[in-house]
Protein backbone atom coordinates (compact mmCIF):
# COMPACT_ATOMS: atom_id res chain seq x y z
CA UNK A 1 0.00 0.00 0.00
CA UNK A 2 1.57 3.20 -1.18
CA UNK A 3 1.93 5.89 1.49
CA UNK A 4 -0.15 9.01 1.10
CA UNK A 5 2.99 11.03 0.53
CA UNK A 6 4.18 8.93 -2.36
CA UNK A 7 0.82 8.77 -4.06
CA UNK A 8 0.48 12.54 -3.78
CA UNK A 9 3.87 12.94 -5.48
CA UNK A 10 2.78 10.51 -8.16
CA UNK A 11 -0.46 12.35 -8.74
CA UNK A 12 1.27 15.73 -8.78
CA UNK A 13 3.72 14.56 -11.40
CA UNK A 14 1.05 12.77 -13.47
CA UNK A 15 0.24 14.89 -16.48
CA UNK A 16 -2.90 17.05 -16.46
CA UNK A 17 -4.68 15.68 -19.50
CA UNK A 18 -7.55 18.12 -19.15
CA UNK A 19 -6.57 21.63 -20.16
CA UNK A 20 -7.70 24.78 -18.39
CA UNK A 21 -10.72 26.56 -19.76
CA UNK A 22 -13.20 23.71 -20.17
CA UNK A 23 -16.80 24.73 -19.81
CA UNK A 24 -18.01 22.50 -16.96
CA UNK A 25 -20.10 24.24 -14.31
CA UNK A 26 -18.36 25.72 -11.28
CA UNK A 27 -17.78 22.94 -8.77
CA UNK A 28 -18.54 20.09 -11.20
CA UNK A 29 -17.88 16.66 -9.68
CA UNK A 30 -17.71 15.01 -13.11
CA UNK A 31 -14.77 16.90 -14.57
CA UNK A 32 -12.89 16.63 -11.28
CA UNK A 33 -13.32 12.85 -11.48
CA UNK A 34 -12.20 12.75 -15.11
CA UNK A 35 -9.08 14.64 -14.08
CA UNK A 36 -8.06 11.71 -11.87
CA UNK A 37 -9.19 9.08 -14.35
CA UNK A 38 -6.90 10.54 -17.00
CA UNK A 39 -4.02 11.02 -14.57
CA UNK A 40 -4.24 7.32 -13.76
CA UNK A 41 -4.55 6.18 -17.38
CA UNK A 42 -2.02 8.41 -19.09
CA UNK A 43 -1.71 9.36 -22.73
CA UNK A 44 -2.19 5.96 -24.32
CA UNK A 45 -5.92 6.33 -23.85
CA UNK A 46 -8.98 6.78 -26.03
CA UNK A 47 -12.17 8.19 -24.53
CA UNK A 48 -15.57 7.34 -25.97
CA UNK A 49 -18.13 9.88 -24.81
CA UNK A 50 -21.88 9.50 -25.35
CA UNK A 51 -24.24 12.46 -25.21
CA UNK A 52 -23.74 13.86 -21.71
CA UNK A 53 -22.49 16.88 -19.85
CA UNK A 54 -18.98 15.91 -20.88
CA UNK A 55 -19.94 16.09 -24.55
CA UNK A 56 -20.48 19.77 -23.96
CA UNK A 57 -17.97 20.73 -21.30
CA UNK A 58 -15.10 19.47 -23.44
CA UNK A 59 -15.41 22.69 -25.40
CA UNK A 60 -16.63 24.06 -28.68
CA UNK A 61 -15.24 22.97 -32.07
CA UNK A 62 -12.48 23.40 -33.15
CA UNK A 63 -10.95 23.42 -29.65
CA UNK A 64 -11.22 20.71 -27.05
CA UNK A 65 -10.03 20.57 -23.45
CA UNK A 66 -9.06 16.89 -23.52
CA UNK A 67 -5.52 15.88 -24.41
CA UNK A 68 -6.43 12.32 -25.34
CA UNK A 69 -8.18 10.91 -28.42
CA UNK A 70 -11.90 11.42 -27.82
CA UNK A 71 -14.68 9.93 -29.92
CA UNK A 72 -18.02 11.57 -29.28
CA UNK A 73 -20.88 9.27 -30.12
CA UNK A 74 -24.64 8.88 -30.05
CA UNK A 75 -26.30 8.46 -26.68
CA UNK A 76 -26.82 4.70 -26.39
CA UNK A 77 -23.81 3.57 -28.37
CA UNK A 78 -20.71 4.28 -26.27
CA UNK A 79 -19.84 0.80 -25.03
CA UNK A 80 -20.34 -0.63 -28.53
CA UNK A 81 -18.17 2.02 -30.18
CA UNK A 82 -15.54 1.35 -27.53
CA UNK A 83 -15.73 -2.38 -28.26
CA UNK A 84 -15.23 -1.66 -31.95
CA UNK A 85 -12.30 0.68 -31.31
CA UNK A 86 -10.61 -1.92 -29.12
CA UNK A 87 -11.00 -4.68 -31.71
CA UNK A 88 -9.88 -2.30 -34.44
CA UNK A 89 -6.76 -1.40 -32.46
CA UNK A 90 -6.00 -5.04 -31.79
CA UNK A 91 -6.06 -5.67 -35.54
CA UNK A 92 -3.65 -2.76 -35.94
CA UNK A 93 -1.20 -4.10 -33.38
CA UNK A 94 -2.09 -1.81 -30.46
CA UNK A 95 -3.83 -4.12 -28.01
CA UNK A 96 -2.85 -2.23 -24.86
CA UNK A 97 -4.24 1.23 -25.52
CA UNK A 98 -6.78 2.06 -22.83
CA UNK A 99 -10.22 2.28 -24.41
CA UNK A 100 -12.54 3.98 -21.96
CA UNK A 101 -16.19 4.91 -21.99
CA UNK A 102 -16.76 8.13 -20.05
CA UNK A 103 -20.48 8.69 -19.71
CA UNK A 104 -23.24 9.71 -17.35
CA UNK A 105 -26.05 7.78 -15.76
CA UNK A 106 -28.29 8.68 -18.69
CA UNK A 107 -26.06 7.14 -21.31
CA UNK A 108 -24.96 4.10 -19.31
CA UNK A 109 -27.70 3.17 -16.83
CA UNK A 110 -30.69 4.06 -18.96
CA UNK A 111 -30.58 4.53 -22.71
CA UNK A 112 -27.25 2.76 -23.16
CA UNK A 113 -27.90 0.04 -20.64
CA UNK A 114 -28.22 -2.83 -23.10
CA UNK A 115 -25.03 -1.70 -24.76
CA UNK A 116 -23.11 -1.72 -21.47
CA UNK A 117 -24.59 -5.05 -20.49
CA UNK A 118 -23.73 -6.57 -23.87
CA UNK A 119 -20.15 -5.36 -23.71
CA UNK A 120 -19.87 -6.73 -20.16
CA UNK A 121 -21.26 -10.11 -21.14
CA UNK A 122 -18.75 -10.31 -23.98
CA UNK A 123 -16.02 -9.31 -21.51
CA UNK A 124 -14.80 -6.62 -23.90
CA UNK A 125 -11.39 -5.27 -22.90
CA UNK A 126 -12.64 -1.77 -22.11
CA UNK A 127 -13.21 0.34 -19.01
CA UNK A 128 -16.71 1.74 -18.65
CA UNK A 129 -16.72 4.66 -16.25
CA UNK A 130 -20.03 6.18 -15.25
CA UNK A 131 -20.01 9.56 -13.57
CA UNK A 132 -23.31 9.44 -11.75
CA UNK A 133 -24.86 12.85 -11.15
CA UNK A 134 -28.14 11.01 -10.55
CA UNK A 135 -30.25 12.64 -13.28
CA UNK A 136 -30.17 13.71 -16.92
CA UNK A 137 -28.26 16.86 -16.14
CA UNK A 138 -27.18 17.89 -19.61
CA UNK A 139 -30.78 18.25 -20.76
CA UNK A 140 -31.78 20.19 -17.65
CA UNK A 141 -32.14 17.89 -14.65
CA UNK A 142 -34.70 15.26 -15.59
CA UNK A 143 -34.85 12.06 -13.56
CA UNK A 144 -32.94 8.97 -14.57
CA UNK A 145 -33.08 5.41 -13.31
CA UNK A 146 -30.12 6.37 -11.16
CA UNK A 147 -31.95 9.20 -9.36
CA UNK A 148 -32.40 8.27 -5.68
CA UNK A 149 -35.82 8.06 -4.11
CA UNK A 150 -37.05 11.36 -2.77
CA UNK A 151 -35.03 13.50 -5.17
CA UNK A 152 -36.80 16.27 -7.04
CA UNK A 153 -36.05 16.72 -10.69
CA UNK A 154 -37.92 18.50 -13.44
CA UNK A 155 -39.81 15.27 -14.11
CA UNK A 156 -40.28 14.28 -10.46
CA UNK A 157 -41.55 17.43 -8.79
CA UNK A 158 -42.87 15.46 -5.82
CA UNK A 159 -39.65 13.52 -5.42
CA UNK A 160 -38.86 10.26 -7.19
CA UNK A 161 -40.87 7.35 -5.83
CA UNK A 162 -38.72 4.56 -7.14
CA UNK A 163 -35.42 3.61 -5.59
CA UNK A 164 -32.09 4.09 -7.33
CA UNK A 165 -31.03 1.71 -10.10
CA UNK A 166 -27.35 1.03 -9.51
CA UNK A 167 -25.11 0.32 -12.50
CA UNK A 168 -22.31 -1.03 -10.31
CA UNK A 169 -24.48 -3.62 -8.60
CA UNK A 170 -25.86 -4.70 -11.95
CA UNK A 171 -22.36 -4.91 -13.43
CA UNK A 172 -21.41 -7.11 -10.48
CA UNK A 173 -23.86 -9.70 -11.83
CA UNK A 174 -22.09 -9.91 -15.18
CA UNK A 175 -19.11 -12.06 -14.19
CA UNK A 176 -16.59 -9.38 -15.13
CA UNK A 177 -13.06 -9.07 -13.73
CA UNK A 178 -13.43 -5.72 -11.91
CA UNK A 179 -16.23 -3.49 -10.69
CA UNK A 180 -15.76 -0.58 -8.30
CA UNK A 181 -17.41 2.52 -6.97
CA UNK A 182 -15.56 5.79 -6.43
CA UNK A 183 -15.99 9.40 -5.41
CA UNK A 184 -13.95 12.51 -6.32
CA UNK A 185 -13.95 13.54 -2.64
CA UNK A 186 -11.59 10.59 -2.24
CA UNK A 187 -9.26 11.16 -5.18
CA UNK A 188 -6.49 8.76 -4.13
CA UNK A 189 -9.04 5.94 -3.91
CA UNK A 190 -10.42 6.88 -7.34
CA UNK A 191 -6.93 7.12 -8.84
CA UNK A 192 -5.89 3.73 -7.43
CA UNK A 193 -9.03 2.04 -8.69
CA UNK A 194 -8.53 3.37 -12.20
CA UNK A 195 -4.93 2.19 -12.11
CA UNK A 196 -6.07 -1.25 -11.05
CA UNK A 197 -8.62 -1.37 -13.85
CA UNK A 198 -5.93 -0.30 -16.31
CA UNK A 199 -3.88 -3.35 -15.42
CA UNK A 200 -6.67 -5.89 -15.91
CA UNK A 201 -7.69 -7.46 -19.23
CA UNK A 202 -11.40 -7.75 -19.80
CA UNK A 203 -14.42 -5.65 -18.86
CA UNK A 204 -14.07 -3.19 -15.99
CA UNK A 205 -16.69 -0.81 -14.67
CA UNK A 206 -16.19 2.08 -12.27
CA UNK A 207 -19.20 3.93 -10.90
CA UNK A 208 -18.35 7.42 -9.64
CA UNK A 209 -20.51 9.56 -7.37
CA UNK A 210 -20.61 12.89 -9.16
CA UNK A 211 -22.01 15.86 -7.19
CA UNK A 212 -23.72 18.42 -9.43
CA UNK A 213 -24.26 21.96 -8.03
CA UNK A 214 -27.03 23.11 -10.38
CA UNK A 215 -28.79 19.72 -10.46
CA UNK A 216 -28.68 18.96 -6.75
CA UNK A 217 -29.14 22.62 -5.84
CA UNK A 218 -26.28 23.41 -3.55
CA UNK A 219 -23.56 26.05 -3.47
CA UNK A 220 -20.72 25.27 -5.92
CA UNK A 221 -18.13 25.26 -3.17
CA UNK A 222 -19.71 22.33 -1.31
CA UNK A 223 -18.99 19.60 -3.85
CA UNK A 224 -16.30 17.91 -1.77
CA UNK A 225 -18.25 18.29 1.48
CA UNK A 226 -21.25 16.59 -0.12
CA UNK A 227 -19.03 13.92 -1.61
CA UNK A 228 -17.66 13.16 1.84
CA UNK A 229 -21.07 13.24 3.51
CA UNK A 230 -22.36 10.74 0.97
CA UNK A 231 -19.77 8.28 2.25
CA UNK A 232 -20.01 9.26 5.91
CA UNK A 233 -23.77 8.75 5.98
CA UNK A 234 -23.42 5.40 4.26
CA UNK A 235 -25.40 6.65 1.26
CA UNK A 236 -22.54 6.00 -1.14
CA UNK A 237 -20.58 2.84 -0.44
CA UNK A 238 -17.02 2.69 -1.70
CA UNK A 239 -16.14 -0.83 -2.71
CA UNK A 240 -14.30 -2.83 -5.32
CA UNK A 241 -14.94 -6.35 -6.51
CA UNK A 242 -12.75 -8.79 -8.36
CA UNK A 243 -14.19 -11.83 -10.04
CA UNK A 244 -12.02 -14.90 -9.74
CA UNK A 245 -13.23 -18.09 -11.40
CA UNK A 246 -16.80 -16.92 -11.26
CA UNK A 247 -16.65 -16.01 -7.59
CA UNK A 248 -17.15 -12.39 -6.57
CA UNK A 249 -14.58 -11.10 -4.09
CA UNK A 250 -15.75 -7.76 -2.80
CA UNK A 251 -13.87 -5.43 -0.49
CA UNK A 252 -15.18 -2.32 1.17
CA UNK A 253 -12.69 0.46 0.43
CA UNK A 254 -10.92 2.08 3.40
CA UNK A 255 -12.91 5.37 3.42
CA UNK A 256 -16.18 3.42 3.74
CA UNK A 257 -15.02 0.81 6.21
CA UNK A 258 -15.99 2.72 9.38
CA UNK A 259 -19.56 2.86 8.10
CA UNK A 260 -19.99 -0.88 7.96
CA UNK A 261 -21.19 -0.20 11.46
CA UNK A 262 -24.51 1.65 11.11
CA UNK A 263 -23.97 3.45 14.39
CA UNK A 264 -20.94 5.21 13.01
CA UNK A 265 -22.84 6.59 10.03
CA UNK A 266 -23.74 10.25 10.20
CA UNK A 267 -27.49 10.92 10.07
CA UNK A 268 -28.73 10.98 6.48
CA UNK A 269 -30.50 14.26 7.24
CA UNK A 270 -27.10 15.98 7.17
CA UNK A 271 -26.64 14.87 3.58
CA UNK A 272 -30.22 15.65 2.56
CA UNK A 273 -30.43 19.13 4.07
CA UNK A 274 -27.47 20.36 2.05
CA UNK A 275 -29.22 19.72 -1.26
CA UNK A 276 -32.28 21.49 -2.63
CA UNK A 277 -33.24 18.39 -4.58
CA UNK A 278 -34.28 16.71 -1.32
CA UNK A 279 -36.31 19.63 -0.05
CA UNK A 280 -39.83 18.63 0.83
CA UNK A 281 -39.01 15.02 1.61
CA UNK A 282 -41.61 13.74 4.02
CA UNK A 283 -40.60 11.78 7.14
CA UNK A 284 -41.96 8.65 5.43
CA UNK A 285 -39.74 9.21 2.40
CA UNK A 286 -36.73 9.77 4.62
CA UNK A 287 -37.48 6.53 6.46
CA UNK A 288 -37.75 4.73 3.14
CA UNK A 289 -34.40 6.14 2.10
CA UNK A 290 -32.82 5.05 5.40
CA UNK A 291 -34.14 1.56 4.85
CA UNK A 292 -32.79 1.57 1.34
CA UNK A 293 -29.34 2.53 2.64
CA UNK A 294 -29.43 -0.29 5.19
CA UNK A 295 -30.53 -2.74 2.50
CA UNK A 296 -27.70 -1.64 0.21
CA UNK A 297 -25.17 -2.40 2.95
CA UNK A 298 -26.77 -5.78 3.62
CA UNK A 299 -26.63 -6.61 -0.07
CA UNK A 300 -23.00 -5.53 -0.41
CA UNK A 301 -22.00 -7.48 2.68
CA UNK A 302 -23.27 -10.65 1.05
CA UNK A 303 -20.44 -10.41 -1.50
CA UNK A 304 -17.70 -9.84 1.01
CA UNK A 305 -15.40 -12.70 1.80
Amino acid sequence: MMSKGNILDEIISAEELILKGHSACQGCGSVLSLRYVLKALGRDTILVIPASCSSVYQGLYPKVAFKVHTFNTAFASAAAVASGIKHGLIMKGSPNTNVVVWGGDGGLTDIGFATVSGAAERNEDIIVIEYDNEAYMNTGIQRSGSTPMGARTTTTHLGKFEPKKSISLIALMHNVPYVATANPAYPFDLYNKVKKAKGIKGFKLIHIFSPCPPGWRYDDSKTIEIGKLAVETGYWILWEAFNEDGKIKLEISPPSRPYLNPERRKPIEEFLKMQGRFRGMTPEMIEALKKWIDNQWDLIKKFMD
Partner: protein, 88 residues
Protein backbone atom coordinates in the same frame (compact mmCIF):
# COMPACT_ATOMS: atom_id res chain seq x y z
CA UNK B 1 -6.10 24.38 -46.30
CA UNK B 2 -8.22 21.26 -45.79
CA UNK B 3 -9.68 19.74 -48.94
CA UNK B 4 -13.29 20.83 -49.35
CA UNK B 5 -14.62 17.30 -49.20
CA UNK B 6 -12.81 16.51 -45.94
CA UNK B 7 -13.98 19.21 -43.57
CA UNK B 8 -14.69 16.98 -40.60
CA UNK B 9 -15.51 17.82 -37.00
CA UNK B 10 -12.00 17.23 -35.72
CA UNK B 11 -11.09 19.34 -32.69
CA UNK B 12 -7.59 19.72 -31.29
CA UNK B 13 -6.65 20.11 -27.61
CA UNK B 14 -6.20 23.75 -26.64
CA UNK B 15 -6.44 25.82 -23.48
CA UNK B 16 -9.60 27.86 -23.28
CA UNK B 17 -11.78 25.47 -25.26
CA UNK B 18 -14.71 26.93 -23.36
CA UNK B 19 -13.40 30.46 -23.49
CA UNK B 20 -11.60 32.50 -20.82
CA UNK B 21 -13.50 30.95 -17.94
CA UNK B 22 -11.96 33.37 -15.45
CA UNK B 23 -14.67 35.77 -16.57
CA UNK B 24 -17.25 33.52 -14.91
CA UNK B 25 -15.99 34.52 -11.47
CA UNK B 26 -18.20 36.27 -8.97
CA UNK B 27 -15.81 35.62 -6.08
CA UNK B 28 -12.03 35.53 -6.30
CA UNK B 29 -10.16 33.10 -4.03
CA UNK B 30 -6.86 34.31 -2.58
CA UNK B 31 -4.21 32.06 -1.06
CA UNK B 32 -2.41 33.48 1.98
CA UNK B 33 1.12 32.13 1.51
CA UNK B 34 1.98 32.65 5.14
CA UNK B 35 -0.91 30.55 6.42
CA UNK B 36 -0.53 27.86 3.74
CA UNK B 37 0.77 24.53 5.06
CA UNK B 38 1.39 23.17 1.53
CA UNK B 39 -0.96 20.23 2.00
CA UNK B 40 -1.98 20.53 -1.71
CA UNK B 41 -5.68 19.95 -0.94
CA UNK B 42 -6.70 23.01 -2.95
CA UNK B 43 -4.69 21.79 -5.92
CA UNK B 44 -6.18 18.33 -5.56
CA UNK B 45 -9.80 19.44 -5.54
CA UNK B 46 -9.81 22.14 -8.20
CA UNK B 47 -12.11 20.91 -10.99
CA UNK B 48 -10.67 23.43 -13.40
CA UNK B 49 -6.95 22.69 -13.11
CA UNK B 50 -6.76 26.40 -12.33
CA UNK B 51 -4.53 25.77 -9.33
CA UNK B 52 -1.04 24.61 -10.13
CA UNK B 53 1.72 23.44 -7.85
CA UNK B 54 5.44 22.78 -8.02
CA UNK B 55 5.16 19.86 -5.64
CA UNK B 56 4.54 18.90 -2.07
CA UNK B 57 6.74 21.60 -0.66
CA UNK B 58 5.39 24.57 -2.53
CA UNK B 59 2.50 26.97 -2.13
CA UNK B 60 0.03 26.37 -4.97
CA UNK B 61 -0.80 29.20 -7.36
CA UNK B 62 -4.18 30.20 -8.74
CA UNK B 63 -4.48 30.94 -12.45
CA UNK B 64 -7.04 33.73 -12.52
CA UNK B 65 -7.41 33.54 -16.26
CA UNK B 66 -9.32 30.28 -15.82
CA UNK B 67 -10.39 30.11 -12.15
CA UNK B 68 -14.20 30.07 -12.14
CA UNK B 69 -14.47 31.05 -8.48
CA UNK B 70 -16.32 27.91 -7.33
CA UNK B 71 -14.53 28.30 -3.97
CA UNK B 72 -14.02 24.58 -3.41
CA UNK B 73 -10.44 25.51 -2.55
CA UNK B 74 -11.67 27.89 0.14
CA UNK B 75 -13.86 25.11 1.57
CA UNK B 76 -11.28 22.33 1.59
CA UNK B 77 -8.32 24.29 2.93
CA UNK B 78 -7.79 22.82 6.42
CA UNK B 79 -6.22 25.98 7.84
CA UNK B 80 -8.41 28.66 6.27
CA UNK B 81 -5.53 30.01 4.21
CA UNK B 82 -7.80 30.74 1.27
CA UNK B 83 -10.13 33.70 1.58
CA UNK B 84 -12.27 35.29 -1.09
CA UNK B 85 -13.39 38.71 -2.20
CA UNK B 86 -16.03 39.84 -4.61
CA UNK B 87 -14.71 40.19 -8.12
CA UNK B 88 -14.71 43.87 -9.07
Amino acid sequence: MKAEHLIISISKPEEGAGGKTGTWRVFRPIIDEKKCIKCQQCWMYCPDMAITTEGRHSVPKIDYEYCKGCLICHEVCPVGAISFIRES
